[in-house]
């Protein structure tokens, strides 16, 4: 099954390639990856989706944790989490089908962020299933271009991962 790993790393040059190379070397395939800084600019969060059974993912988690610049690794898969992806979809649209596309966009609570005579760009945010469904609905109209981010995720409620301040001062 797919696992969502949240990895806190020191924001240093080369850390992305260290983490990514480890997955390759140990024979795990990264399905998606998203990286950005956290509330502390010295620390980045990498959200990685990887396929594997529980034992395999535990193994890769332990290996990632051994990297010197990795501060924390959490497998959010079994937690109640909010997970989001973002996609930009350029769809063929003219006067004949534009309103139908706008209806689909409304239903999905997505946005049209660019309009031209022959196409629109749709921006959709949601979990993987919602983004997939949106793409499925738009495909018959002709998708000209598609750009999609990796997943980012966070555990719901006030049970956070240990505070970053705790990690950085340790």
């Amino acid at each position: 099954m797919k696992h969502t790993l949240s990895i806190l790393v020191q924001n240093q040059a080369g850390v992305l390639s260290r983490v990514a190379a480890l997955f390759t070397r140990r024979g795990y395939n990264i399905e998606s990856i998203a990286v950005g800084t956290t509330e502390d600019p010295r620390i980045s969060r990498m959200t990685i989706v990887v396929e594997g059974d529980r034992r395999e993912v535990e193994q890769i988690t332990k290996n990632v944790h051994k990297l010197i610049e990795v501060l924390k690794v959490s497998d959010l898969t079994y937690d109640d989490m909010v997970a989001r992806e973002l996609a930009l979809i350029k769809v063929t649209a003219d006067s004949h089908n534009r309103s139908e596309i706008m209806q689909i966009v409304d239903i999905f609570r997505a946005k049209i962020v660019d309009v031209s005579e022959r196409s629109v760009i749709v921006e959709v945010t949601g979990d993987e299933g919602k983004v997939d469904a949106m793409i499925r609905m738009l495909r018959p109209h002709g998708i000209k271009e598609l750009a999609r981010t990796g997943k980012i995720a966070m555990v719901r409620g006030s049970k956070p991962e240990p505070s970053l301040r705790h990690i950085t001062s340790a």
């Binding site: 020191q10 040059a13 390639s17 190379a21 332990k62 501060l71």
Partner: protein, 579 residues
Amino acid sequence: MSAVDLVRREESVKAKRGQRMKATDAFVECLLAEGVEVIFGYPGGAVLPIYDSLYEGKIRHILVRHEQGAAHMADGYARVTGKPGVCLATSGPGATNLVTGLASAWMDSIPVVAFTGNVARSAIGTDAFQEADITGITLPITKHNFLVRNAQDLPRIIKEAFHIASTGRPGPVLVDLPKDVSVEEIIFDYPETVDLPGYKPTIKGHIKQILEAARAIAAAKRPVLYIGGGVISSGAHEEVLALAEKANIPTTFTLMGIGGFPGDHPLSLGMLGMHGTVYANYAVHEADLLIAVGARFDDRVTGDLKRFAPHAKVIHIDIDPAEIGKNRHADIPIVGDCKAVLSVLVEKVREKREDEWLAKIAEWKREYPLTYEEKPGVISPQRVIQEIYEVTEGNAICTADVGQHQMWLAQYYIFREPRRHLSSGGLGAMGYGFPAAIGAAVGRPDLPVWSITGDGGFQMTSQELATVRKYNIPVKIAIINNSYLGMVRQWQELLYNRRYSASDLHDNPDFVKLAEAYGIPGMRVSRPEELRPALEQAAATEGPVLLDIHVDPEANVFPMIPAGMSVAEMIGKKGRLGT
């Protein structure tokens, strides 16, 4: 290093704090502060500033003849002293030549700190002359590596490099220094502590798990202790012995664990695995409890994992949590330093003795002792090892290269102490043994050092004869010469219908003349009666000496569990085919 030296070192660091100096002079000061006694290196354009700072000779420098030699020497030095070994190479080809040595140190968890030069920061990424992305190249074969981007960071990085290399599960660390960084000036400040928030090795084992392990040992009828290189690196050999003796547990070791338990102890089963003893492998197969200490269930130990120790509950003690459950499920995992965990476990374990089990093992030992064939007028390679053992009274440091002689050394030299047997266990790097012996002899000048090598592997790094000559390093080189790549030939004999493809080395050079060309005395030994006197003469020789020992070209390493198989498929149980 004596206490006086330590104090002097600290005072020197303190006195220099706040001084403005060249980054490469700071490099030397940092190494002195770390207690580095020797650097194995080879100069080149990008490290000229470092070599200029080394010119005054504050740290001993051993000039090698190929950077691979430098990396293996640093490894050998580290294995015998327990301190990080240091090697130095220039950018590009100098750096890439270190790769095999670093990979071997990585696979065997050996603390090595490698320094490389690189092209100037502005030239990085431009395919400049002698540029190589060595931090990228060594990413999967180092515990960590650094590219120094600011000269002022150099002391902190060196501190971290030595800390990372030598703590937790040890391993090689590489520091890459662009040439323009190395010529800058900095304000010297060597930090006293490291600040690595993402690096906190677990040392103490969980007491609940340790108590669980003690209960499992009490309940076991057929326990076996299975120890690996972790016992050596954590210095847990005394605790292993105490545990084995208190609960009367038969003990087997991996290639990396040799010396972690006295090989001549009544509870010793010798080495296990592909070329392990019959009784070690039988014992593990029949065991109801396997206590793995600092070992990683490598395929050369387990063969077919599904059929390895099929009746055993597993206690797995290791400092690296990623080793636990990697190959074999652990019923009682204990993450922690072997020495720290065992010292508690020894206290908690109950004195006991399973006489039936010990009797069974004694029976196997009687039925299947390690043995080999001898042909009249021909030197058996196994006898060479036995006689080296006798001549050195079991006290020498012996390094192996890779192949048949490596296994014979492991089988027939009885090591009683840790840090005396050196072998490229994980990587199996031919060319390792001879330079590792040089590093070992530099680290332990008080002990005799023998390089037991093959005619194939020796030629991969034989240019280090020049290094031995230059510094008069008293390494005894014993080439177990069968004019074949012996292990390749053995597999071809057994598995490829005797089709000896590319394994024949009958056009070898005259090794005695080769030694003499480097100014080192050499002796050829080809008749059984010449062997003992030659070995005794070599042992009595002050400086380096090379013995070219011509042995039975078709001797095989037995017993053998073919790759991926199990105890049931073991061949050569009585030292020859068909047994």
